[in-house]
Symmetry: D2
């Protein structure tokens, strides 16, 4: 066994000696995310950590994050930054699929207006195109929970760049 | 040993059988964050996961997140949503400390303009007040890396609410 | 004749001695606007000056401004600020009609993303509701020219206030 | 006398027959603006109409508009769109002077957060650079009245284009 595997197991053992029920819920959540990444469900650790999954059709996207203590802010509702994260993923993921092979997009501006918060189960962001320019893509996004409660809207500008190899 | 502790250990064992070096780096990062939370360094799991720590003075805040694969996007630079998250934390954390006992703030609008990205080590967000109203606080934030490279600026509006007990 | 009427006539005479064709076009435009205001077509001088007219239905608004040298910027296309002005009028005018008697709204945030410019004849802004809260209304707006060319999109937040008498 | 000069004089005469004191104040204001434009004080009619004047130093700008009925909204305070207009002028005017000969800038995004309104005499917008990129300039702006009362802040993104001849 490698040194870092040993460290990981020791650190986990230390945590489990003092773990609350919520700590264990979070641990299971994070580990399931990492396991899913190993199995190809996620491409990035940020998605694995948040259990963030997306469906991307040519003209629309839908990205989901379960609401768990991992994304709670102090008042136990989804952190405003995570709502921005799901919006950026829904808009940027859609935009990046619309540019030619060898190109990618970077966010240049994002504006999020928050309308309500939720104690429900899931964040859902739906992205769409507003404008497809040669150099700039303008995107919009609605963020709701699974009951259809409207949480926020976002507008994003994405700049087309050549993918560095 | 409780059932969930067993599940956690089994899941970890499964992950470690196929873990890459990067998987192990991320596991150590997440576990260190959770351990730090148990020891009172973080109050929330989102901070623990990101290793996000803040210093809040009366008129200014400074929040830091190390740049690791946990926050990378597809092109291995910090995810735009995490830059929005650190900005929201720097502005909202400062705003919430400025309202009277029994009150809190919620983000109503956040606008982030992205200027550059970074391959360096740390995200640093510095929040400040623009306007302290009775009902609304307007905040601004600069986001840099540890070399002073300017990554983004943000403006946020926060609405004062009564804290629910 | 009053003193200010005399001043006005003298000033006009001075202008007309050196007026270009474009000066005269602008003069006619501004005077027609003022005359329309006297006849009740406009309620405010800003609308008169811009020939800005709106239709407000319960759930949607449409505001129009002809494109003339009065609103041109240096490169002879509509000034970005005037596009913000028509957006604010379309969103704020609709919002103000949705609040109870004795209340009004003030803009707290407006975000405008510009996509294209135009050499055509008319700016048209269409406002709609995104969220009707008790204290805050969130509005969206599309700005086009009369050919359907998409020029900009806007999002606005409006705070409900008691109308001062 | 040309036909359009005659039309202008007749239209003015009609207006003056029914003019209120406020109508005359506005007429004088608009005519003074046009006369100032003839004398080279303004380059554009929008500036003439608003009496908008600017000072542009290499790193900062200051643009001013007197508060008169010409820019009032329904509740007799400066229209939110005019605050956006002065911000766009202060930021865009500064940005356009920072690009090489033969280039110009266009606004791609503007975000305005409104904090207070005013019954005072003058709008003053102060623009500054946040980031000078090769393709994009990011600007910020504070909008106050002449007493230093903070009315709004703005952030703007400007894209560098080749000037069309």
């Amino acid at each position: 066994m490698t040194k870092s595997k040993e460290q990981i197991e020791q650190l986990l053992a230390t945590i489990l000696q003092e773990s609350s029920e919520e700590d264990e819920e979070v641990l299971l959540h994070l580990l399931h995310g990492l396991r899913d990444k190993q199995q190809g469900i996620h491409r990035r650790y940020i998605n694995a950590t948040l259990h963030m999954v997306g469906k991307f059709e040519p003209e629309a996207s839908e990205v989901r994050i379960p609401i768990t203590p991992v994304i709670h802010n102090t008042i136990k509702v989804p952190h405003g930054g995570i709502i921005a994260t799901i919006a950026d993923a829904a808009m940027g993921g859609l935009a990046s699929r619309a540019v030619p092979e060898g190109y990618n997009v970077v966010t240049t501006n994002m504006n999020v207006t928050y309308m309500a918060t939720t104690k429900n189960k899931e964040l859902i962001a739906r992205g769409r195109f507003v404008h497809k320019g040669r150099q700039t893509l303008v995107m919009a996004c609605d963020i709701e929970d699974e009951t259809g409660r409207q949480l926020a809207i976002a507008t994003g500008s994405f700049f087309v760049i050549q993918r560095r190899l």
